[in-house]
């Protein structure tokens, strides 16, 4: 047993304390702007952590650079504030070296999709057992307000005074395209929903990707208000529930019906359609997940939130351990003497 394994073994059978959300709050002052959506994300994560039954010392939060990436400083767990865009790669190294740990990544639309886009897609593809929180505020906050890879076409910012001619990414669609085995979207201003999604991500084995619509009240205030504010939310958000027909609207009077491959909004009150005509959500259906993720491109359709897709498939770090175990069983544990002396050697008298 090596030194690290000894530490793991020593602490393995300790009872997990009964934590409260407060136990996950570190001694560092939180330095986000007052009113920032990040506060809610921090609060919901801290609220869900005690439910997971994982001792604090086995939890690690890793981030890159940006407002979102200050996250680890505020969690009373192990924390690692990395460099711009590289959190998924740092986290992959840690998780592969230490599969016993529970590793979360906090990133943003700039950090995760621009400078770190490559790492993000490859983490999803490999299905490393990481939980990724992508704070999407459609702006660069920490550098004081340039457009980001999720900012809409035509966006006026400091770096695009005449409007952006860039087209945005759809993070959820990107994660699906990159083969993430768990893909969800939630809203900073819906604590209950966010807690639900975080819990589901925590339960998932493999890469769990959560896009969180997060309001940057300083540089991009109200970017998601249509979906988060009381007046407009019900008419514009489709809450996905596994096995349930896709109904939305304040009066639950509208639904989504598939016409060919195209989702369309139908009324449930004009007598033409009933709930039975609607699409039924199935988290295991990869085809459906792409259709749902694509709905964001159509302003006439409600914005889906919830778990788009969840599927079990081989997990990189688990597979790596399994392979090492098999090799050790087959070849025997490596012996340095044998290694140095194997193959052709000769003796000089």
């Amino acid at each position: 047993m090596n030194l690290v394994q000894e530490i793991i073994a020593e602490n393995k059978n300790q009872a997990v304390p009964k934590y409260t959300a407060k136990d996950f709050s570190s001694d560092q002052d939180v330095r986000w702007c007052p009113g920032c959506g990040d506060y809610s994300i921090l609060a919901q994560v801290q609220r869900v952590m005690p439910e997971l039954g994982i001792p604090k010392h086995n939890l690690v939060f890793i981030s890159g650079i940006g407002c979102s990436s200050r996250f680890p400083y505020y969690m009373d767990t192990y924390g690692f504030h990395g460099i711009h865009g590289r959190a998924p790669a740092i986290a992959t190294g840690l998780k592969v070296a230490r599969p016993d740990l529970t590793v979360w990544v906090a990133t943003g639309d700039g950090d995760g999709l621009s400078i770190g886009g490559n790492h993000l897609i490859h983490v999803c593809r490999r299905n490393v057992d990481l939980k990724i929180l992508l704070f999407n505020n459609q702006i660069y906050g920490l550098t004081k307000g340039q457009y980001s890879p999720t900012s809409e076409y035509g966006k006026v910012t400091k770096s695009t005074p005449f409007g952006s001619v860039d087209s945005p990414f759809n993070p959820t669609l990107l994660a699906l395209g990159a083969e993430s085995s768990f893909v969800a979207r939630t809203l900073d201003r819906d604590p209950k929903h966010m807690q639900y999604v975080i819990r589901r991500a925590a339960e998932h084995k493999g890469t769990a990707f959560i896009e969180i619509y997060q309001n940057c009240n300083v540089f991009n205030d109200g970017a998601f208000f249509t979906f988060t504010e009381k007046e407009s939310k019900d008419e514009n958000v489709l809450f996905l529930e596994h096995g349930k027909p896709m109904v939305f609207g304040k009066q639950k009077d509208k639904g989504i019906k598939l016409e060919g491959f195209t989702p369309t909004v139908v009324s449930l009150t004009d007598g033409k359609y009933s709930v039975n005509d609607l699409m039924v959500h199935n988290e295991k259906d990869t085809m459906l997940s792409f259709i749902l993720a694509r709905m964001s491109s159509f302003p006439n359709l409600p914005r889906p939130v919830g778990v788009f897709y969840q599927m079990q498939r081989p997990i990189y770090d688990v597979e790596m351990e399994r392979q090492l175990q098999l090799i050790r069983e087959k070849k025997g544990v490596g012996n340095l003497e044998t290694l140095l002396n194997h193959g052709e050697t000769w003796i000089i008298q």
């Binding site: 090596n2 030194l3 690290v4 530490i7 793991i8 602490n11 300790q14 570190s26 560092q28 604090k56 010392h57 086995n58 939890l59 690690v60 680890p72 400083y73 192990y78 924390g79 690692f80 504030h81 990395g82 460099i83 590289r86 790669a89 740092i90 986290a91 992959t92 190294g93 840690l94 998780k95 592969v96 070296a97 230490r98 016993d100 740990l101 490559n118 790492h119 897609i121 490859h122 790596m320 392979q323 090492l324 090799i327 050790r328 087959k330 070849k331 025997g332 544990v333 490596g334 340095l336 003497e337 290694l339 140095l340 002396n341 052709e344 050697t345 000769w346 003796i347 000089i348 008298q349």
Partner: protein, 608 residues
């Protein structure tokens, strides 16, 4: 016809052909057998960056040079005595490295009109003029191979592919080497295809027998074993030695080895080698890019692994920010840079020593990182082990510089006793009492290694400036200056913990030739030659480049002249001049090839 047996002290042979002719394999086999014969040796694989460059072209020529002898051999040889040329292009490219009177063994079947034209020959050089300057032996290698396999009904392609074994067999005969080691290798390599075993062995034997019976070879040579230090030897390349040195460090430190890397020439073989030995619990992670290679390794180091990333120049450039992060986090990390010709993509398969300044200085801000370099292929083992020792003891990234020549070159290696390797003793803090992430060991100035999974040590680290002791984010001016100096002092202090530099030759004199890295053999050869002539020349090879050994200045001041020889435009010389204020001279070649000892000798003659 009775053949004359002639004794030679040393010989250099160069096998050259198309990239697809199997010259690297032929060379490696000749090397293994020669090593088994107890000769000292040094090799230089020299191949194009293209995997299968168009046949017959000049740029598609692949060569393998081996210099072996009964005396001490330190270089792959400035010129060769024997050139095996499989086609006109191979002849043309390599002729200038053949000494006057040297032997050419040419595959006449490769010298057809098309190949002659591709190589730019109007007339067949074998029939025109060459014989005045060299001993030319034309052999119809392809036809003879075909003949040996006539009854086997093999495809022309397979026949064509095994002709290199004919050349190898011939050379085994010519230099009195046994064919059995290669036969054993063939048995193992082609164990899935009895047909190929039969074919290749037959051709090998046919080549050997041809030497025996043909009238064209009147002389056969013998090279007696070298008087090497007694013990058990094997042949090893630099890349293998790096991999094994890392494995040894993992075993001796009790830390799991993690390699985060991205394939790049000429470093990829380290990844391949480590991937073979996963029963040592080695985790090799082929990352999506160079940056993920280094940052995943940093993540693994944070978790308590012996973390390594391997690369070459362009990858080094990409890893720069990651290395800065590792030094800010003060986590152990080994970065192996197998230097190649640059800048940019440069000469991927050729050697150079031009990443030194990048390694020592090439990061934003004040970012001191220990840098060490291996001087021979086998020395890569020691230096990889040394990199791990420093990284763990001082909680710091360490850059190990090797180069394309060391990486692919081979030499006999006296296999070390495992028990003689020192233990590396990492310590993980486990006691939460008074734990501070950036408190420091008084002697080494290193901070504690506190790994996730340890109860009560939950803490946050990152690339932002740290407060001394607590490690909290801190922007105070005095603290920043203090920490900048602290990081520098920590690395500078390593000078107390590395071997003093030792001079080969006299401690005082007219000229000190200073080198570092893969030029060791060439400089040693040149300096020895000049010393035999009675010149007052000594050789100093620096293995620790940052910090320098403590006695370096003292040594330099003992010589009237200092000549720094490097395969770059003068990098170590800059460091030496600026640190020790000596008017050091500079000798530089950047041919993508190792130094020639003879060139260096001429340079020495100019000074003393």
């Amino acid at each position: 016809m009775a053949k004359v047996l002639e004794n030679l002290d040393e010989v250099t042979i160069r096998f050259a052909g198309d990239s697809g002719d199997g010259m690297q394999l032929t060379g490696t086999q000749f090397t293994s057998t020669t090593a088994l014969m107890g000769n000292d040796l040094s090799t230089l694989p020299d191949y194009p960056a293209e995997i299968r460059a168009p046949a017959g072209t000049l740029f598609g020529v692949s060569g393998f040079q081996i210099h072996f002898g009964s005396t001490e051999i330190n270089t792959p040889g400035d010129t060769c005595d024997v050139l095996v040329a499989m086609n006109p292009a191979a002849l043309k490219v390599n002729l200038r490295s053949l000494r006057d009177g040297g032997i050419i063994i040419a595959n006449t079947d490769g010298f057809d009109a098309k190949n002659l034209k591709l190589a730019g020959y109007d007339k067949n050089p074998l029939e025109n003029g060459l014989t005045e300057q060299f001993q030319v032996f034309p052999v119809a290698i392809t036809k003879l191979t075909d003949l040996a396999l006539a009854d086997m009904n093999l495809s022309t392609k397979l026949v064509e592919r095994s002709k290199n074994f004919f050349a190898l067999g011939m050379m085994y005969w010519m230099f009195s080497r046994p064919i059995e080691p290669t036969e054993r290798w063939i048995d193992d390599k082609f164990k899935k295809s009895p047909e190929l075993i039969e074919a290749n062995k037959r051709v090998l034997k046919a080549g050997y027998a041809f030497g025996e019976t043909t009238e064209i070879f009147a002389v056969r040579y013998e090279v007696k074993p070298a008087s090497l230090q007694p013990g058990k030897y094997r042949s090893i390349t630099g890349n293998e030695a790096v991999a094994w040195g890392l494995i040894a460090a993992s075993v001796k430190s009790g830390l799991e080895l993690f390699l985060g890397t991205y394939p790049i020439t000429p470093a990829s073989d380290i990844l391949h080698e480590l991937s073979k030995h996963k029963n040592f619990n080695i985790k090799t992670f082929q990352a999506e890019d160079e940056i993920a290679g280094v940052t995943s390794a940093i993540g693994a180091s944070y978790g308590g692994a012996l973390a390594v990333t391997t690369t070459s120049g362009p990858g080094m450039a990409l890893k720069t920010e990651g290395i800065g992060l590792a030094l800010m986090l003060e986590l152990p990390l080994i970065i192996v840079d197998v230097q190649r010709g640059g800048p940019s993509t440069g000469l991927p398969t050729k050697t150079e020593q031009a990443d030194l300044l990048q390694a020592v200085y090439g990061r934003n801000s004040e970012a001191p990182v220990p840098v060490i370099a291996a001087s021979t292929p086998a020395d890569c083992f020691n230096m990889a082990f040394e990199a791990a020792r420093i990284a763990i003891k001082y909680m710091t990234p360490v850059i190990l510089l090797t180069d394309g020549y060391l990486a692919n070159g081979a030499e006999p290696w006296l296999i070390p006793q495992v028990s003689s390797l020192p233990n590396i003793c990492p310590t993980f803090v486990t006691n939460p009492e008074g734990f501070q992430p950036y408190s420091r060991d008084e002697k080494t100035l290193s901070r504690p290694w506190a790994i996730p999974g340890t109860p009560g040590l939950e803490h946050r680290i990152g690339g932002l400036e740290k407060q001394h002791i607590t490690g909290n984010v801190n922007y105070e001016p005095e603290n920043h200056e203090f920490m900048v100096k602290m990081r520098q002092n920590k690395v500078d202090g390593i000078a107390d913990d590395i071997p003093l530099a030792t001079v080969e030759g006299d401690e005082k004199g007219d000229l000190l030739v200073v080198g570092w890295g893969g030029t060791y053999g060439a400089i040693r050869t040149a300096v020895e030659a000049k010393r035999r002539e009675g010149k007052s020349v000594s050789h100093l090879h620096i293995k620790h480049l940052n910090p320098f050994p403590k006695n370096l200045g003292e040594i330099l001041y003992n010589f009237k002249n200092v000549l720094v020889a490097e395969i770059n435009l003068g990098q170590l010389v800059k460091m030496i001049r600026s640190k020790y204020l000596v008017p050091a001279l500079s000798y530089n070649r950047v041919l993508g090839l190792p130094f020639k000892a003879s060139d260096l000798e001429q340079e020495i003659d100019k000074i003393v």
